[in-house]
């Protein structure tokens, strides 16, 4: 399958990756080559086959909500630079993007 660099750049943006020119070029070739091998899947008749998302286990995802607290190496309030009323206070990472600016 051929993947052009623009297509890979779009996927990279979805994956929060920024790829420089020669790296992008090499990766588009490699990913395209790998996907060519996946074409074998298309030849399989799966018309009446339900997808298997995970191996069957004897596990139950549901349990009583009574687990013991996770033992931590340090007290919970030391994971953040500041702590108030049971909440972490953290420095702003960056301003919100894409929000409308100017007067409401």
């Amino acid at each position: 399958m051929t993947i052009d660099e623009a297509g890979l750049r779009r996927v990279a943006a979805l994956a929060r990756l920024r790829l420089a020119g020669d790296r992008l070029h090499a990766l588009s070739s490699q990913v395209g080559s790998i996907l060519e091998h996946m074409a074998a899947l298309q030849a399989v008749d799966t018309a009446n086959v339900p997808p298997m998302s995970a191996a069957p286990t004897a596990a139950s995802a549901l349990r009583a909500d009574d687990g013991e607290p996770l033992p931590l190496a340090i007290p919970r309030d030391r994971f953040a630079p500041a702590w108030r009323d049971g909440f972490f206070l953290v420095p702003r990472v960056a301003s919100h993007e894409g929000e409308p600016t100017g007067d409401a």
Binding site: I3, L8, V11, A12, L14, A15, R16, L17, R18, L19, L27, Q30, V31, S33, I34, L35, H37, M38, A39, A40, L41, Q42, V44, T46, V49, P50, P51, M52, S53, A54, A55, P56, T57, A58, A59, S60, A61, R63, G67, L70, P71, L72, A73, I74, F79, V93, A94, S95, H96, E97
Partner: protein
Amino acid sequence: MTGPAAVAARELARAHAAGERDVIHTVRTAFDRADEVGPGGENLNCLLSSDREAALTAAEALPAGALALRGVPVVVKDNIATLDLPTTCASRVLEHYVSPYEATVVRRLRDAGAIIVGKSNLDEFAMGSSTEHSAFGPTRNPVDRSRVPGGSSGGSAAAVAAGIAPIALGSETGGSVRQPAAFCGVVGVKPTYGRVSRFGLVAFASSLDQVGVFGRTVDDAALGLAVIAGHDPRDATSAAEPVRDHGGERGAPLRGLVVGRPREYFADSLDPRIVALCDRAAETLRAAGAEIRDVSLPHTALAIPAYYVIAPAECSSNLARFDGARYGLRVEGDGLSAMYEATRSRGFGDEVIRRVLLGTWVLSAGYYDAYYRKAMQVRALIADDFDRVFAHGVDCLLTPTAPTPAFPLGAIADPYEMYLSDVFTVTANLAGLPGISVPAGRVDGLPIGAQLLGRRFDEATLFRAAFAIEAALGEEAHR
């Protein structure tokens, strides 16, 4: 072999409890051996971190009495959370990261008296088959330093093979315990999906991931598995199945056991010397009373394409959390998106980026049904193949673990060619089955593993057969 791994783990624990052997001496010997194979020595680069003083302190603090792993040195793959040592996943993104909690398997090891002597090298985030994709340099195979130890748990396999510890933990997503065990000439067990808690295992592909165990011998692996297995309320996939110490399977009769030999794993293109070694292992089972039966698993050839759709898809989701905001590396950028992109692009290595891109691609609009849904359907066909064979009276399957012996460092540049190294192992992960690799002999001086695959939660049968092969081959398994 020198070091504590020269003595079986069960015997080490007994001798420590009986006062016949000093725990401190054992732990010091393990670290001395790690030094011999570390920088300035053989430079295997199998351990990423260790703390001799902390380990000795833990050894001195062991409570009195018998413990299953009393004073036994154990190595832990560096994608499993520990409190005293970093958990880097061999990635720049998590360089210097120390977890605030420990994995359930690590707690169970410590509760059983094991002493953690180091965190082992791996392919970054467990993505690879050679341990060459570590941000901190490749691990070398102790059998032949010019070759890879396999991967992704190559550091753990090398540590056991080099004699640092008789037991090590690894993780399996597509063969990352069994393949390096085969390459390094040790035993590697991948338990049934759900058998062992993944709480504290850094997720790669959650529908496939499972913690596994390396042992110098089958009994070492059985003992390690007995300690870490069992239900954990902190892992929703963990099953409440009874846990047994499969050391009891040693010497158990094989009469009536039906062992399948799937023809798809013995293609004409496979090195006939590997075929001969696997058939020799099968012959030991036949001589002990088992029946060897030719069987077919017709969808085997589709396992690699299906796996390399499903695993990257899940990886692209799981690794979204490494964005500079919460864990480890942060590379500042002009705004939030720029920070995410700069952090991830600089922090991830090439193989991780390849898989994240691949996974994002197959999940993206227009491709989901063609790739991801299709791969999940093929996964069902592969699992059905196994179920059908087991339903017709076959108790376990015997195959080669890998299609080649350990290859030279740097020899495989094409990513898909590297993926083919997992061709005989990914099927068990897709189907959620247990598997074990046992040494079966050597080709050109390099170890070859025989793989046993079994029914879900029937590790007992695999250990019974593995013990029989080990006992029958003796030193021939390492020649």
